[in-house]
């Protein structure tokens, strides 16, 4: 009986509240849109301004009409930046370094994270904390000793040295994230594989890696972004004789802007700035969905 008498009561109460609530909701949604549009302008504004400026000639930039369209859309500034300012070479250097070091980071990081997450052995926790405590240290701390170590190894000013350093500095976060992710995966499949006689290595590459795909993809992107963004490390490591051929893109940009005051081709700088974003556009275009889905999967559950 009670079940029958109840529904009408709730119905009336909710019906009485509804119009009011709807209006509130509409206002709230409207406000959210306004707030988000404002934020979108703030977010995208500077980027669009740079894009606009990159098509302008030097004189146009200094004309004092920052939002005027350029006289003509030509890619001259980009061609200048690519060849005259050597941005082309630096760009390819950066791509090369980031590709290899991200691959290395993912391989070593996934292996270590897998072991730490899935095997029990004495010292497991100690090693985990050792890895992850690397997260807490600001990069700049180790710069000077790092310089001497690489110098001692003869790796100063070499891509090998830089790649190894990139890998070492990306590992703490990678392991922290992937260990949590590997732990969240089901154990049953792995156990079945063990029963069927799969080796450790095979289990890792053929079972765990594919299962962890979404986590691997998002942390890969995180590492690509992080390593593409590095500036301080290459400045310290890519020094010494012969290093000027091996500068990275961020260094090239700093070079343009620092070296020559107001005489510089600022349009070249803006073109170079746009070029740094380009690879990221490609990465996002490919992985957009995984980035959103996977970024927190390991941490939140």
């Amino acid at each position: 009986m009670t079940t029958i008498t109840k529904p009408p009561a709730t119905k009336t109460s909710s019906a009485g509240r509804r119009p009011d609530e709807k209006r509130d909701l509409k206002i709230a949604t409207g406000m959210s849109h306004v707030a988000l549009v404002a934020w979108a302008v703030i977010t995208a504004g500077p980027l669009l301004w740079v894009l606009l400026a990159s098509f302008k000639s030097n004189t146009e930039i200094f004309l004092g009409k920052p939002f005027a369209l350029p006289n003509q859309f030509s890619f001259d500034t980009y061609i200048n930046a690519w060849s005259d300012a050597h941005i082309g070479r630096y760009f390819l250097n950066s791509v090369f370094v980031v590709l290899i070091s991200t691959a290395g980071t993912m391989l070593f990081g996934a292996m270590a994270a897998y072991v730490l997450a899935r095997y029990k052995f004495p010292g497991n926790r100690a090693i985990y904390y050792l890895f992850v405590s690397g997260l807490a240290f600001p990069t700049f701390m180790a710069l000077a000793p790092l310089f001497y170590i690489l110098k001692g190894l003869g790796l100063l000013g070499s891509f090998t040295g830089l790649i190894l350093v990139y890998i070492a500095y990306s590992l703490p976060f990678t392991i922290f994230f992937l260990a949590a992710f590997f732990k969240s995966l089901p154990y049953e499949i792995e156990e079945a594989a063990t029963v069927d006689g799969a080796s450790h290595v095979r289990k890792f590459f053929q079972i765990m890696m594919p299962m962890a795909r979404s986590g691997l993809v998002s942390i890969t992107i995180f590492n690509i972004v992080g390593q593409w963004n590095q500036y301080l490390l290459p400045v310290v490591i890519m020094s010494g004789p012969g290093a000027d051929q091996k500068l990275l893109l961020t260094q090239g940009i700093a070079q343009i802007s620092v070296s020559a005051g107001y005489q510089a081709e600022w349009s070249t700088l803006f073109a170079a700035l746009v070029l740094t974003i380009l690879p990221m556009i490609i990465v996002y275009a490919i992985f957009q969905r995984q980035i959103q889905a996977g970024l927190t999967a390991g941490a939140v559950k």
Binding site: S14, G64, A142, A180, L232, M280, T296
Partner: protein, 329 residues
Amino acid sequence: MSVVDSPATRRPRDPGGPRQNRVPGHVAPRRRKRNSGLVPWALAVPALVLIAALLGYPLVRMLVLSFQNMRLRELISGRTPPWVGFDQYTRVLTDEVFWAVVGRTVAFTVVSVLISVIGGLSIALLMRRVTRGVRLFMVIAMMFVWALPQLVAAQIFRWMTDSDFGVVNYLIDKLPGVNYQNHSWFVNPWQGWSVITALVVWAGIPFLAITLNAGLTQVPKELLEAATVDGATPWQSLRNIILPILKPLITIVTTLSVIWNFGLFTQAWVLRDGHPEPQFQTLATYSYTQAFGQARYSLGSAIAVITVLLMLGVMIFYIRQMFRIGEVD
């Protein structure tokens, strides 16, 4: 302890319950039998070696260096610098300039992290309310900013706030009755720091908003609907449902933001053209200028060590919590 333990349910693993039983006896043979012990080690070794050599060893070296007195002379001749004990530390800690830098860095970190996290959370919450298309657009726009190298972002802000040709002055000047032509943003430290903070927050919010937005998808819809039916205000559902669920994630991103912002270097460096004035020095730039600019390598190391100790002192609780969240089974 109990507070730290509470966020997750990992009691069985915690103080080494099952492990403890195995450890006292003969460990090695047993381990080998059960897990064919060497393979896990082999998988972990490359990462271990790299971190130990390129992250661990430099840190130890720096610690040693901070107890010595390395100057340009020792650097060039390659002689072992003289051991001076805690001299560098007393010198740093009794220096008023250093404490001013500490205060400034802490203030900046607190303000910038607060704004970033609250802003990021609000944007993440707002994004749940708008249509899919708008949400996608927002995510893409923020992805670009997130992916922007700090150096590039700093260059952009440097140009936007340029006193002669900056677009910011141009826009403010358009306001009626305001003359901002040729206004220099870095004469007044408050204004200069607002620019730096704006840059750091602008570049930091996308990561927070995207991460928290992804975290929000894990909040069960039924729970929120049930709360609304029971007459909970949006504020109440935020406080009592959403925030508790998001708490581990918020802890992680806040801790990371503090670590990153406390080590602020590139932005201040670029905005001040590689020569930050005293009022724009942070602990990172201060340590760097002392070490490389003034060739006081040991003093710079001591400052860096103190920086990490300060940060760990304040953050140890949260960092521990962050690691433990990462350990959830």
